[in-house]
């Protein structure tokens, strides 16, 4: 569609965005790589020396790392399972006509727009707190001992909080996909004798498959970097019970000032994320043709 008159202007117009993003990606990442092969601690500046893969070895053999890795996978996996199952259920519900459906939809969407620090603090203090929290009151009313969620089941509690935040996202995406399902397809299935469950398994679910994949991939990308919720509730503890890779790197960098070690950890996090990103990019790329 473009004639010669617009092509040269076009190249100039995308230059700033491309250059900035290139710089943003290359410069810090290269520096991280560089730091990761140094022994560099902010408390002892000027004593940096090249140590090859030592930092990587320390990081990967540190028991905290394995715990953090497991926690990361549990966190991501747990939230995904909860949000997908819950999201499908909610999407099916919201797709039905009932009174006040629009408002219920707003209520369900709301948690996603609450900033993570507020979410975390509200859950920690007002709901989960073993003395003052609402759950404690419910337990006491039922004659049970209040449960200290964040101390006794830190990772599970954080999974719950993060799931609450991301459930609307999954619901919205799945609901959008659900509503794009051709009504006539469902009617054809009914003519062929399919009941609600059959329709769901054979028509609805395959149609949602793509949206579910998108939700899984995007949530994975973002959930790998869960940070604020951990910082504000448990600080990764007790011990490393609720530390994920992101928090571990943060702790090493800004709490222990171990720049070298933290950089190695950062690179490992990047590698993990790249694996997921690879698949997501392919999926989006295919969609670009449409």
């Amino acid at each position: 569609m473009a004639t010669l008159h617009t092509r040269s202007a076009a190249r100039l117009m995308s230059a700033p965005a491309i250059i900035l993003l290139l710089a943003w990606m290359i410069v810090p990442l290269t520096m991280t790589l560089y730091f990761s092969v140094l022994r560099y601690n902010l408390l002892m500046p000027g004593l940096e020396e090249y140590v090859g893969f030592l930092n990587y070895r320390y990081f990967l053999t540190d028991p905290a790392f394995l715990t953090a890795l497991a926690n990361t996978l549990l966190l991501v996996g747990g939230v995904i399972v909860i949000t997908i199952l819950g999201g499908i259920a909610l999407a099916l519900l919201l797709d039905q006509p009932f009174f006040g459906q629009g408002i219920v939809r707003l209520l369900v969407i709301a948690p996603f727009f609450v900033m993570p620090t507020v979410s975390a603090l509200v859950w920690k203090n007002m709901l989960m707190h073993p003395v003052n929290g609402l759950f404690a009151w419910i337990a006491k009313s039922l004659g049970l001992q209040p449960y200290d969620f964040l101390a006794q089941a830190p990772l599970a509690s954080i999974i719950a909080i993060v799931s609450w935040q991301w459930l609307p996202f999954a619901t919205l995406i799945l609901l959008t996909a659900l509503q794009s399902l051709d009504e006539e397809q469902k009617e054809a299935a009914e003519m062929d004798g399919a009941g609600f469950v059959s329709k769901f398994i054979w028509i609805v679910l395959p149609h949602l498959a793509r949206a579910i994949t998108v939700v899984i991939l995007i949530e994975t990308i973002f959930l790998l970097s869960v940070f604020a919720e951990i910082l504000v509730t448990t600080n990764g503890g007790p011990g490393y019970a609720s530390t994920n890779i992101t928090y571990l790197v943060y702790a090493q960098a800004l709490l222990q000032f171990d720049v070298g070690g933290a950089s190695a950890g950062g690179i490992i996090a990047v590698v993990l994320a790249n694996i997921v990103a690879f698949f997501l990019i392919r999926l989006i790329g295919k969609n670009l043709e449409g």
Binding site: M1, P28, P111, M126, L254
Partner: protein
């Protein structure tokens, strides 16, 4: 659906729907209610739901002490500043990609999106050190730069999809009608692109306002936006629930409202267009 749903089914669905909605929304509701209680009331057992002495003292207190106003300003400056800066850079880029695409355009777009998928922790160290050495730590401008960069891919991407939806022949008609490139952009392209630009703007403000990694790590007291300010409430100080609720309500209210109006844009933006 052309067929009428039975009233009984509708009633059951209504009950289920509202129950689910209420449960999910409850933490937010509880926060708003608590913000109007006295501190004593806030931790009273059994907790009161609606029948208590409503007071607005918490709002007053939060706003007067602890420079709450400054933190709000920080959030506003950072969210709006990075959004407008992002739009400034992204609009020309998205225009050229949508209307004068080359064979490499799609690859460039995909690459841009991939930079958004970089875990921030991978560049935490160098960014932190660079900011420290350049005196950018705990400054609003430093944070605006970071926010702009991390959201730029999404802004470009969303604008690109909106621009692509503008029918090419309307722009050709403008050319036939004698419009130069500049006039074509001003009189035809921009008015038609405004809904898309507005959607992108809203979504980006939401994302920048709620961002909770860089805002927590690169600020201290001066440039801390609301995310960091609220985080500072995390060390228990006892007897502060009502004030925390007030601060939280004020922090999330604007975004909740904006968010409620931009659901469709959210889907498009956050799934990178993979679901429409």
């Amino acid at each position: 659906m052309a067929r009428a749903v039975s009233t009984r089914r509708k009633t059951i669905l209504t009950l289920v729907g509202w129950t689910v909605g209420f449960l999910i929304f409850f933490p937010i509701l509880w926060t708003v209610l608590t913000s109007f209680k006295t501190e004593g009331e806030a931790i009273a057992s059994p907790p009161s739901f609606l029948f208590f002495d409503w007071t607005s003292e918490n709002y007053a207190e939060v706003q007067t002490r602890s420079d709450y106003g400054r933190h709000v300003m920080n959030s506003v400056v950072i969210a709006f500043g990075s959004t407008f800066l992002g739009l400034l850079i992204a609009i020309p880029a998205a225009w050229s990609m949508a209307f004068a695409p080359t064979k490499r355009t799609k690859d460039v777009l995909m690459w841009m999106l991939s930079t958004k998928m970089l875990p921030p922790v991978g560049v935490l160290v160098p960014i932190y050190l660079m900011f420290r050495d350049l005196g950018l730590l705990d400054t609003r401008s430093g944070l605006v730069v970071v926010m702009t960069l991390i959201n730029l891919p999404i802004i470009v991407w969303m604008l690109y999809t909106y621009f692509k939806e503008i029918p090419g022949d309307i722009l050709e008609a403008a050319r036939m009608d004698g419009a130069s490139l500049a006039k074509e952009i001003v009189h035809v392209l921009t008015p038609m692109a405004i809904p898309g630009i507005a959607s992108t703007l809203l979504l980006n403000i939401i994302m920048a306002w709620n961002e909770a990694f860089w805002t927590l790590n690169l600020t201290a007291a001066k440039a801390a936006p609301l995310t960091a300010f609220i985080a500072s409430y995390s060390s228990p100080e006892g007897l502060f629930y009502a004030k925390l609720s007030a601060a939280s309500t004020m922090a999330i209210a604007p975004i909740l409202i904006i968010g409620w109006f931009s659901q469709k844009q959210l889907v498009r933006g956050l799934t990178f267009g993979a679901v429409k």
